[in-house]
Assembly symmetry: C2
Homo-oligomer: 204 residues x 2
């Protein structure tokens, strides 16, 4: 059975890290899947969109439409996109038969203290406008399918909760334990191959 | 083997009619496919885009990206979109491993005399700006994979040429004859079901 697994949450909450790990695990278990990452999709697919509410919602619904198309043909869609507005998320839930929303929850202060890409600093300095959590709202999911707390739990713990959830709903076949199949190095290599398979070079 | 079959040509040349027929034939032969139609995609997927060269090219490359994703997962993409600019078509050819371009060729005067949707009349009256062939260019394909002449040949003849082409390249399995599997009524019903499966109600 196919489904869309949507990771929503603040920048720096851990959406890409977690979704990537889950994505490769699904592949290792023989399932067909696609990973759609916010930054990548914007660069290749939504270049003309900005960060107003309207543009963000168009982007979120568009990725919902692509996920729906993929699901229709038996391909799992794993999405890591902030999706800050509840209404657009709800529209996707209506469109997509099996929509699984994972709220990657992490208080703003913690996400900001990580600031892996230096974006929060730029947002606070006013260099980046419309930054979710700083100068733009994030409407927290009220009823996500699953909530993981990346400030309280490790990546591996959150990862295990997600796999557990998918297994218990019968969306992915069970495995004796839920440690990831891939080593860190293998995951890195697989990620680079995945990026190449999307054919950016041309679309950037 | 998966591929993208792109029907390019003027409005009224017969892109939707032919592509729809081919799409259902592929399905009847047990192949997995998706149909992406210009008008439908614009309404559901590219609502914010206009008809400037930049916007048209974004739309064409975006549909190329979706086709590439579908192909990657074994789903044939059948596209009926004007795609008037050669450069954007060329980019898709580079991105997509098996890109088959069908030039649905029909002189402007003939397409205009059909004017099924009354669009040419509006374009001539200046009500619709940037109309391909009237107030916007159409760069005819110089080296399409296949050219069909809808002014000289019937729909069934053009259809047979396309199926022949796909069979001879080994992209679709051969059948004893290349008459369509579906009756006209069956095709109509299948089309309505296909539209419903795209889940417009929500996206419109």
């Amino acid at each position: 059975m196919s489904f869309t697994l949507w990771f929503t949450g603040l920048s720096g909450a851990g959406k890409t890290t977690l979704s990537r790990k889950v994505f490769f695990e699904l592949r290792e278990r023989g399932l067909k899947g696609e990973h759609l990452d916010g930054d990548i999709i914007r660069a290749n697919f939504s270049q003309e969109l900005g960060f107003s509410q309207r543009d963000r919602d168009i982007n979120v619904r568009r990725i919902g439409f692509v996920s729906h198309l993929l699901n229709k043909h038996g391909v799992i869609s794993v999405v890591a996109v902030i999706a800050p507005y509840a209404a657009a998320r709800r529209q996707n839930r209506q469109l997509i038969e099996n929509y699984v929303e994972v709220f990657v929850h992490c208080p703003l202060s913690v996400a900001e203290s990580r600031d892996v890409k230096g974006l929060y600093a730029k947002a606070r300095a006013g260099v980046i406008p419309n930054f979710t959590g700083v100068s733009d709202p994030y409407e927290e999911p009220v009823e996500p399918d699953l909530e993981v707390r990346t400030d309280l739990n490790s990546v591996d713990e959150c990862y295990a909760q997600i796999i557990d959830h998918l297994e218990s709903r019968g969306l992915v076949p069970r495995k004796p334990d839920c440690r990831p199949c891939l080593t860190v190095a293998e995951e890195e290599r697989a990620w680079r191959e995945h990026l190449a398979s999307l054919g950016y070079a041309i679309l950037k």
